[in-house]
Symmetry: C2
Amino acid sequence: MQKEIEVFKDSLKKANQKITHQRLKILQSFLNTEKHVSCDELYQMVRRQNPEIGYATVYRTLKLIQGAGLAREVDLGDKISRLEHEYGHKHHDHLICLECGKFLEVFDPEIEELQERLAKKQNFTPVRHKMDIFGYCQKCQEKERDGHK
Amino acid sequence: MQKEIEVFKDSLKKANQKITHQRLKILQSFLNTEKHVSCDELYQMVRRQNPEIGYATVYRTLKLIQGAGLAREVDLGDKISRLEHEYGHKHHDHLICLECGKFLEVFDPEIEELQERLAKKQNFTPVRHKMDIFGYCQKCQEKERDGHK
DNA sequence: TCTGAAATTGAAAATCATTTTCAATTATAC
DNA sequence: GTATAATTGAAAATGATTTTCAATTTCAGA
């Protein structure tokens, strides 16, 4: 956490941007949750501690946090962009339940390897990738079976 | 193409929806392009032949086309939803260039297999998945190297 | 073929997430 | 400390998509 704050500050300095009270508060709130927050959710969290911080500033700061490599966008099928922690968190894929919306994070080195190879075969230099599997989680399948409907 | 139109009509009938002039025209325009069209692009295409068809109708009809299993959404990293043909088109993944925005469609049965297995391991029943690899295409890499910048 | 209920249409307004504008404030290099 | 360039909050603007609503169209059944 201390480390992330340093990374953030360094990233700002490098870009000639200022280290402000608001930016640090917003980063802190982001680091405090392990959820995949939407911007609005984060704004609500920030607001509890610092009601004077505006919506636009949260949006702007989230871009900076992404720019610093501390967050990455995830797409859970709805249209709003959510962020998950990137720094110190391994890349992973998502299993997203179409029924309840919950998701699992998974990682398979074999798949990663094949993805890399697949790209190379097309003379394509991969930078990052996104793999989301949509389907039904165990709980929702059981619900379906028992309560059928 | 004739086949797709039948699929569409059947899907409408099943849902107690009506087969209208507008819907058929919009479907036709969609089928006529192999591009990954955004709704706006499709509207422009439709408009050339049928200026009386409204924007909202194009949006509404695209949802129906998706519902009939004739189109699927693709996410090329920008925020607008684009559609590609689904019917009679094999599933595939995308290699998306961060520089020029162009993309390749690729398919790797080994990866598909592993994805299936990965989901099963979590007692997750996969329905569909999305895999997008972002990076730099051959052309943009060359441009970078030669013109450097 | 005609009729009527239900579905659909186009245009405009509404919505929702996100971005921009702008005057006032603040961080920081000197 | 001071100047200046970056940042802020609030409100307005944006852009994609959805909804509203009165007028029109489809189509099942007479």
